[in-house]
Subunit: 255 residues, 2 copies
Amino acid sequence: MADQHHLELLWGDDVPRGRGRPARTTRDEVVAAGMARADAEGLHDLSMRQVAADLGVGVMSLYTQVESRDGLVVLMIDRAFAEVTDTLARRDGEPWRDAAARQARTLWDLYGRHPWILDHGHRMPMAPHVLALEDAFYTPFLDIGLSPAGSANAAIALRSLVTGLARDSRSEQDQVRRTGVGYAEYWSTLNAVFWDRYFDEERYPAMTRLWYAGGFAAEDILAGEGILERAVAAYLDGIAARAHPGRTGQGTGEA
Amino acid sequence: MADQHHLELLWGDDVPRGRGRPARTTRDEVVAAGMARADAEGLHDLSMRQVAADLGVGVMSLYTQVESRDGLVVLMIDRAFAEVTDTLARRDGEPWRDAAARQARTLWDLYGRHPWILDHGHRMPMAPHVLALEDAFYTPFLDIGLSPAGSANAAIALRSLVTGLARDSRSEQDQVRRTGVGYAEYWSTLNAVFWDRYFDEERYPAMTRLWYAGGFAAEDILAGEGILERAVAAYLDGIAARAHPGRTGQGTGEA
DNA sequence: GATCCTTTCAGGACAGTGTATGGAAAGCCC
DNA sequence: GGGCTTTCCATACACTGTCCTGAAAGGATC
């Protein structure tokens, strides 16, 4: 039950113990250094030796501030989510739909700043600011006529939609950054090789139709942020229909 | 451009070269062994040495069939997606909404059988059967009155919704299996420690309200499969409203 | 001010990992 | 039966996270 110790680090008070040799480094400094590394290199290339070197400190010194590498990542995630805790709060008089859409967008932007969060293999940790985000996501769906379980499901699904979309689009940039190959260059060469040599129009008729119809015209359809707003709007329309049966959603109607 | 070599392994013909010492092992066998390991232990604990040992073969012998560990994983993913290629095809007369929902469910079930797919850090590889799934996902949205880009966006978002939900729910079971701690046991002890000691009802009012309203009554709200069907239905309702403006979606209306 | 005590520091070691190297082995073709 | 071509696999290297250990450093106490 390693999570239990994580919980103490995440939630426990930092009781400053005055006796003994003082630590050369704060836990905040370690976490910040880890985030800087992850922002620049990705989670995969984040090593304890690197973080220690960045801080000018021996490797094992990190383990007085952090229980393990996984524990460090958990703390980093909490710190990242802390960036948006205040922004997420629902504003006075803000319609539930606007609040939900704004929160989705905020989470999307957070993933944009810290793509390594999406590489975290395990479930999101029970960290204070992660829970704060979850709580904020539940808020808009509370008093719109859904059952309690329905509200919970709606919020979870919205969060998963944003996360899934972010993964599909951002991990691409992440990989591009790691390999050092530019986005346009990567796609152009890959496409030249791939479409000309391997793609079979009869095998993939839908993609072929979309291709000739210009459906992929944006070149990097995922990189555009329109897809998030559209998907969230469509989903919230469906929720709205369930929330107030008989009324149609307030969607703008644009495709 | 490591992907380029992956492409050859994925799409190139397996030209059987008759000269030279014959390989003791097929590429299919290697990929199958890797999948068995990953199904049982997860992607994180999949090592080349283990796969080689399972096959009774030297470690480096794998590298004649597979370019690298990442290449092996890519082939494994393609093989996993091949399981559903036939199932995904749209059936005669099947309404687009039913087809999309069925495909979403099929992908969800695939993630259930092979949760390690969700641990793949990079973008989904351009593999034949991965493309087949993407193509199938595009199909239902083609002739329902959306713009080409709108159809593409709708299909991508649906796929991301399923993937995101699967990650949020399945990675949990994955971690539970790895740590060997049972699902119920894990949650009960964690919850006992967490809720009693750390959770602050004033800090997380929405979760608190949902808790007392029974919104989390299912105990493992994510493990239930209802959340997928509900989320997909809501999203497709929103798409339907955009596809045929003026008509309301065919949602069942249940919360 | 010296001593004890508690805590952190950091070097070395260990069990892993993916994979480059290079000589030995094994089967087809002439 | 060579010659050629391909595969096999032991070894080695760089790298990882983390345990162990004794030394170092500062506060508390006499």
